[in-house]
Amino acid sequence: MVLGSSSRDSGAETCFASLDKAIKTHRLYDGRGELCENTASQFYNQAREYLDKKPELAFQVSGQGFKHGDRVLSAEDRSGQGYFQMFKDGLRQISILPGFNPEEAKKLVRVLATRNQVQKGQTNEDGEPELEEDTVTRIWDANFKSVRYDAIDSFVEGDVYVPELDKKVSLAQWVNTKMEAYGEEKIDEWQRIGPPLKSASPPPGIPQRGLLGLDVPSPLPSGGIHNFREQYEGDLGSQMERFSVIWGEMVEKASEEQTKALMQMMIGLINEWMDEGNWSGLLRTFLVLRKLSAKPNFKNMVSMIVQASASQTALQRLKPHLEELHPRSARLALRFHLLLGRPGLEALCRMLADIPPGPVIDGFEAAFSAEKVNAMGLYLSRLRSREIMPVVHGIRKLAPMAKNPMVLKALRTSVQREEREIRNSALLALREDTDGSTLTGWGRALFDQDVKVRASAIRALARTPHAIGRSALLERIRDKGFRSLEDTELAAVFKAVVRMPNDDVWITLEELLGKNRVFGGKNIRGVQHAIREALATVDLPESRRLLGAGEKGTT
């Protein structure tokens, strides 16, 4: 909604509308899914278009919401945790500059859509929430290249507890008081009572008149910088190991009561990482827990933690993160679940069941292969999905393993599914199977809309000595729609059926050969021609009889 009546910049308004939509979508779907991606890229496209014509796209953040120029572009939402919160945090302007790219667009939407988090029970003495971060700290952390922001130090407006006064006072006022030590007034004092600088002496080791350069130090050599950066990155990776050593020591020294608290702390940490989808954190934690479980003192505790935080239900928290996992992280995720043993792997496979074929599944296939884990479980899980594509994908992957009894059973079950794509894929995977249920499935496939599937069905049924094959083919022949099939298909059906002869076959063929209709005569002649061609391929008394009768009939 556009409020106010000042001069309009429809381009900026369109950009804001798409930003607003992206933020709200992000909040609604927790930043996950295609819809969030699409709205963010829509915002990027609008901003890009605007920046092709103008040097920057600037929005002011006011108590009424976002503004461009004097125009208010959005009314504040009722919850009050939206744009008004950004204003309260001190954000006053956001400018988007040329060079803005899709990644920054996504990051900006994510930063603006994130609401201030208050940890449970984290309130100060006044009952106000104790925040770890706000909109401005998040924008600063994001370190944008093409987004500038302007913020006032709104936090200074609050009160602060001053231990030396043992009370709360206005922070701004107290800063001003303390700033007196830096004030010019002090300089006047120097004139009167300042210490005589003349009497100051150099530190030991520096001659009285020794002169040293005031040069600005050069930057460190690039090798040194690289080394420190590597150390820091490595550090981030080993934080959990450090934490585990500390946690382990704390547990060893803790009383029974404290042990419970420490256990809850670890469970809380694991839960937090599960909510964040922090695979590397989870992996390290569980590696550490495994190491600890080798010690008798920790065995029970570790098992309780694993039970509480890695139960089948608890692991479900990871499902949304799997759906949007970067393929590179798939191996971490797999390794984490492998650490939990068979139940962990089963849970992972179940969570992956509904994910459509694409980069996530490709990533996991690569991860299974890299970890030398048979991906059969993953594909079998996908066969249980209610979605068509994951099942079809699973069936195709399982086809080469069709001799495995578990796979065979699962594929046979899939043949019974109502969705024709699934049925057909399963039948193709079970090409060699002669089980009754599969053959029945092939019989059903004779009626499929796809000519190739029908052709496969004919071939499959022709191969089997089972009576079901013959019955299915005869049923197809007796069907009303049969005569309208292409000549090649008619021929294939008849050639198949004459190779599995019995009385029913001969009777059916004789009936068809004996028909002579005025209407639809063309169709029946085509059918009779196909029957004769098929009969000519076998040398049996009944086939010769029918061929002879047919010739007489024709003459």
Binding site: G63, F84, Q119, E132, V162, G194, P204, V216, L220
Partner: protein
């Protein structure tokens, strides 16, 4: 829940009253009963305030913020929406203060408000509203609405000092809450640190000079602030990006927090006391260790600092090195402790930065560095500080004295005869002699000094 201060309530009522009258003028005649009721409300409010304090009520606007008698009004969303009519009107008339004087009368206020409403059509009327002696209420433009001095002419040195002071104050609160076993929010500290890290990236020397201003009397909060900022400067010199600099700075707070339990002995605790203090901090998994952002960082910081304090070289054993942040903070804390001569407590006599650096260099050369002090990081510190660290008292080649701030700039305090100048000046110098700071020299004004100011 704390009750809002009386001024907050008055401010809200005053804004509601004034905007209510302005809105009512669009619908009713000036003598209408609704308008009279609203005007009476304003008069009563002014009378109530004047009766108690004898002072007027000054409603000032600054952008979209309102201040009542210099106190920021914390308006809610409806408050901001309501106030918009008044903000727009004041902005269009280029005024920022509505003053209601004690002894305000109903009819005078009515007349004033009628004219105020008409200024939308006739801006000339605004001039008649400037004189408060006519109506007992005035509308005008005044200088310095806000009390923060937050404006564009504020130079970096002063801004740096302001943020430095803010961080010290917030750190004092953080330490006090930690001492009570609470887990304080870090938002304000993070916001202030971010501003200071921006400054480190722009003018690292300004921050380095500030951290050389501090002694035992600035307390544990002073030591924590200086250590955090020095650690940030070291991390910046190492080429770490600003998020990493930020996390190195943040590491300092939990690492020194347990020392708050030692009261005035925070800088001179024995090995046994440190062991006990840090041990206690780690053995009380209560509310202070509830899971939240930074809990892992906090525990690691406390554990490593405690271990270093007890003389353990490898807190985790030979297989796992102490964190880089921990090693940086250990060097920064040691440097600050030595420079401020903090172990001496109240008797401390500040030592020149150059002297501390020379000592550290000697200790490094002779392998006498304390536990946890990484010589590579000491190397970075020495490199960053150079020959003449910012914040050093210096004698220039011509005999004048000053304080190094943004190398090669020196804030010159005296003339060549050593007499204090009327006003310091910024001089660009090539060489000088570092001096031990004389007792009684308060470097604060020189560090925040600006020729532009």
């Amino acid at each position: 829940m704390r009750q809002p201060s009386p001024l907050q309530a008055k401010g809200n009522q005053l804004i509601a009253g004034v905007t209510g009258v302005l809105k009512a003028f669009e619908l009713y005649d000036a003598s209408n009963a609704t308008i009279t009721k609203l005007l009476k409300g304003i008069v009563a409010l002014v009378e109530d305030h004047g009766g108690q304090s004898g002072e007027s009520l000054r409603l000032q606007s600054d952008g979209e913020n309102f201040f009542l008698n210099q106190e920021l009004l914390r308006l809610d969303r409806q408050g901001f929406e309501r106030a918009k009519r008044l903000t727009d009107l004041m902005a269009s008339l280029r005024c920022n203060e509505l003053e209601f004087r004690a002894g305000l009368e109903l009819e005078a206020l009515r007349e004033f408000m009628v004219k105020l409403a008409k200024t939308a059509e006739d801006r000339e009327l605004a001039y008649e509203l400037e004189d408060g002696s006519i109506y007992g209420v005035s509308l005008r433009e005044v200088e310095g609405t806000t009390r923060q001095g937050r404006d564009n002419v504020e130079v970096r040195a002063e801004a740096g000092a302001r943020f430095y002071v803010t961080l010290q104050i917030l750190t004092a609160e953080y330490l006090a809450l930690k001492r009570k076993g609470k887990r304080p929010g870090m938002m304000a500290i993070r916001r202030t640190l971010q501003r200071l890290i921006d400054l480190i990236q722009l003018q690292r020397d300004t921050v380095l000079s500030l951290i050389h201003y501090g002694r035992y009397r600035h307390g544990l909060e002073g030591h924590t602030t200086r250590t955090a900022l020095l650690a940030g400067c070291i991390a910046h010199t190492m080429g770490l990006d600003r998020r990493w600099i930020n996390s190195v700075c943040l590491y300092t707070f939990p690492s020194t927090a347990p020392l708050a339990h030692l009261d005035e002995y925070w800088s001179s605790g024995t090995r046994g006391q440190i062991e006990e203090t840090y041990g206690r901090a780690l053995s009380s998994p209560g509310s202070s260790m509830s899971v939240g952002a930074g809990v892992v960082r906090d525990l690691i910081a406390q554990y490593e600092t405690g271990a270093f304090g007890q003389g353990k070289e490898e807190p985790y054993g030979p297989e796992l090195k102490a964190s880089l942040a921990g090693r940086i903070v250990a060097v920064a804390a040691t440097y600050d402790s030595m420079r401020g001569n903090l172990i001496e407590g109240e008797r401390c006599r500040p030592i020149s930065p150059k002297e501390v650096l020379m000592s550290l260099d000697q200790m490094m050369q002779s392998g006498r560095l304390a536990a946890g002090i990484d010589k590579d990081i000491v190397g970075v510190l020495l490199h960053m500080m150079g020959n003449m660290p910012p914040g050093s008292v210096v004698r220039l080649e011509n005999g004048a004295f000053g304080i190094v701030r943004e190398r090669p700039d020196v804030v010159q305090l005296t003339d060549t005869f050593g007499r204090y100048l009327q006003r310091p000046r910024i001089s660009r110098v090539k060489k000088g002699t570092p001096l031990s700071p004389p007792l009684g020299l308060d470097m604060g004004p020189a560090l925040a000094w600006s020729d532009e100011g």
